[in-house]
Point group: C2
Chain length 439, copies 2
């Protein structure tokens, strides 16, 4: 077997064998296949596609390329969630405490933000002292003791995926369904998940602009998980407009805490209940076996305060300042605040998630490069949604800034491309477009 | 303009603009586009193809990526030839003296051999003292003074092509018509050719196995040359069996000298006359304007000894030992000689050029890696051609070796796969399959 032949086979539209895919990934991880060979191979995959079996083989080969986490000694069933990334998507901050409060312990590894989408770790670091980097022993200890832990990735999970992604990013080979799906799933499988709820976003603020593409990606990932012996659900959810009101690090933590108190925006609350309910449905020991019962159980954990208590416990366990959790006003804020009002009456026909996300970046609350510093206090609140009736002067956005120049830049962006108002009534976006169950 | 977009355009089947192609090649040559980006781009080109305009643009961008030779101060019209490479293809050694003797001065840069095909420079170095590396001033001086010079490439011609080829070689993107054609033509154009006769080989010993592929490649190269303002002819010639009798460095020089004396094998002689005639036809000052007159003029230069005199002058000009030209027996020889006889009577249905070429490599007369040493004295003579009637015991091959072990290896190869004998009569191969004239 040799690398050039494997590239040629894929180039010519042949189906690669399990052995060929594993050999390619092994050689690439070891540095014996070159970056330019991976680039040519990725382009061939982009253009020829991959069968279901090839996609599973690639996923498992990448999952096996580095460390693999085994949580079986601390969790009877490791249920995980994955969001494809969006604006205002602070879902993990609410869903994990809810699921844990419902008696299903959770131990999740999350990531940082890049571009217009925020990262869970960055949001958690708004809380003074919160440790996102935990040694594996401590990570497991917290899962065992508290039933909840939410930290960064310490082990070297799926290094082949990391290296391949770095090349795809600069060779126009990112947007290939089998490559995207295997990239996501390889990390989830290496992280030890037994069951996974995928939240695949679609719309202007999502990687997948069109519903059909998102649905296809969701289906491919569910298939991979099922073939790899995992329990799977994928939700296809809207990301044309921001999720909830808050976009920005501390702002989102505040909104998550409000939601855990039963006081969050309805769209975000409903979204969290749905994701949590499917996680409970996957976990064999959750005590629920239909989605309605799961939704009720999730709601109950908010109503009785147990979900908030789990969030507090999580922060405490990871060294965070619980006073800021009790009194979110103590979280980082911003020196400047400015509103954008509706220029005329009508119906909101666009509240552009991508533009809101980019405005947050411009305010300093996101990164364009991994090394960029980040301001936890800034952000944008989006007070109205597509379909809402507005009167001239109604507040559409509130911007929180620590720098006047940045504030002006973000204001200009949102004024010029952040929203549209229609004379005629507009249909609101659904929260979810589809649910794809494994098997 | 950016590299990733250009890769994406080609990936999606768009036609790249002249500016995009030039930008890509400029950035790649300067090291600002990475090898893996060139690899992904090459795979996209492989799979999507290129229009005639794109192929011309790529050729000219690569020709402009390094030094360009201007021969206009020494040659009224620079006529060049290019062979796609074959076994026993010592054509340049005869054709250049013939053309020069016909009053059309020639100044050619040649290459070394790799794999089963020999290189003109290696052959010339069989002659004691022959300098293949000449400073440009000396190269031009010889062209002006003697009307003939045949040396290696000193200037850095088309470095973009060199770098791109190195990547294509290990990413399964070699066999793409526009990439092959632009690679060859970029070097010819950078080398200052005004008119080019392409000798595109097809058959078991050629890069293009099938006649149709060779014809397509020839057509693409002729189109490039015409669009770039060059006068072009392409010949599609047979390389299923070796050209002439001799394959091996000094053996081929001896056969070239014999041919210049009018005593060469008929197939090789006829091949040389044809290539030389088309070169004369391209050159405006050759005094011939139809191919028959050109053939006669070429033949005349052999008959009257003027072509041989030009060969002698070329060797003398480049410091070679002319005694070896006068008495070719003084050229390097071999200590061992062995014949392979026909095992039975019948008609030769195969004399495999690739196997003969590989046997020469095994004897030490060729290279598998650029750094391999080379033995000028060894080689294989192929005494009969496909279609010839043979009796059991007739000599098919004569092997010349300086090492018994290598001799056995080469003998085994040729005995087992070098030829086939049929009971029924077999059609001989034609020398040429097609002639494609520019315009």
């Amino acid at each position: 077997m040799n690398i050039v032949d494997i590239i040629a086979h894929k180039r010519d539209g042949q189906t690669l064998s399990t052995e060929e895919i594993r050999y390619f990934i092994t050689e690439f991880t070891a540095g014996r296949a070159e970056d330019y060979q991976a680039a040519a191979w990725a382009m061939a995959v982009f253009m020829q596609g991959m069968s279901r079996q090839e996609t599973v083989d690639l996923t498992l080969a990448m999952a096996d390329s580095g460390d693999k986490i085994d949580l079986s000694d601390v969790l009877p069933f490791a249920v995980d969630k994955h969001s494809s990334g969006g604006v205002g998507d602070k879902t993990s901050l609410v869903v994990l405490p809810v699921v844990s409060a419902c008696g299903v312990p959770v131990a999740k590894m999350s990531g940082r933000g890049l571009g217009h989408t925020g990262g869970t770790l960055d949001k958690l670091e708004s809380i003074e002292g919160y440790q996102v980097e935990l040694p594996m022993e401590r990570f497991k200890e917290l899962a065992r003791k508290n039933g909840i832990v939410l930290a960064g990735q310490t082990a070297e999970l799926a290094p082949a995926d990391k290296a391949l992604y770095a090349i795809r990013d600069v060779t126009a080979t990112v947007s290939s369904l089998p490559l995207i799906a295997s990239s996501i799933m390889s990390k989830k499988i290496a992280a030890g998940a037994d069951g996974i709820v995928l939240d695949v976003k679609t719309g202007s603020g999502a990687f997948m602009r069109k519903v059909d593409e998102a649905r296809k990606l969701a289906k491919v990932m569910v298939d991979i998980g099922v073939d790899a012996g995992r329990k799977m659900v994928a939700l296809v959810s809207d990301m044309n407009q921001p999720l909830g009101v808050a976009a920005g690090l501390a702002l989102e933590v505040k909104e998550a805490i409000a939601t855990l108190h039963g006081e969050g925006p309805k769209d975000f609350h409903d979204h969290c209940i749905e994701v949590a309910a499917y996680m409970l449905l996957l976990a064999p020991d959750s005590g629920v076996d239909d989605i309605d019962a799961a939704r009720q159980k999730a709601q109950q954990s908010i109503d009785d305060g147990s979900a908030f208590a789990k969030f507090r416990l999580m922060v405490q366990g990871q060294g965070g300042n619980v006073e800021q959790v009790e009194s979110p006003d103590l979280l980082p804020g911003a020196s400047h605040q400015r509103k954008i009002g509706a220029p005329r009456s009508g119906y909101l026909s666009k509240v552009d998630a991508l533009q809101v996300g980019m405005a947050v970046v411009e305010l300093g609350g996101g990164r364009l490069r991994k090394s960029d510093p980040i301001d936890h206090g800034v952000g944008v609140e989006t007070l109205l949604n597509v379909g809402d009736k507005v009167s001239a002067g109604d507040t559409l956005f509130v911007l929180y800034a620590n720098d006047e120049e940045k504030l002006e830049t973000a204001l200009n962006r949102l004024r010029n491309g952040g929203f549209e108002i229609n004379d005629d009534p507009v249909e609101p976006y659904p929260l979810f477009y589809d649910v794809i169950m494994g098997e």
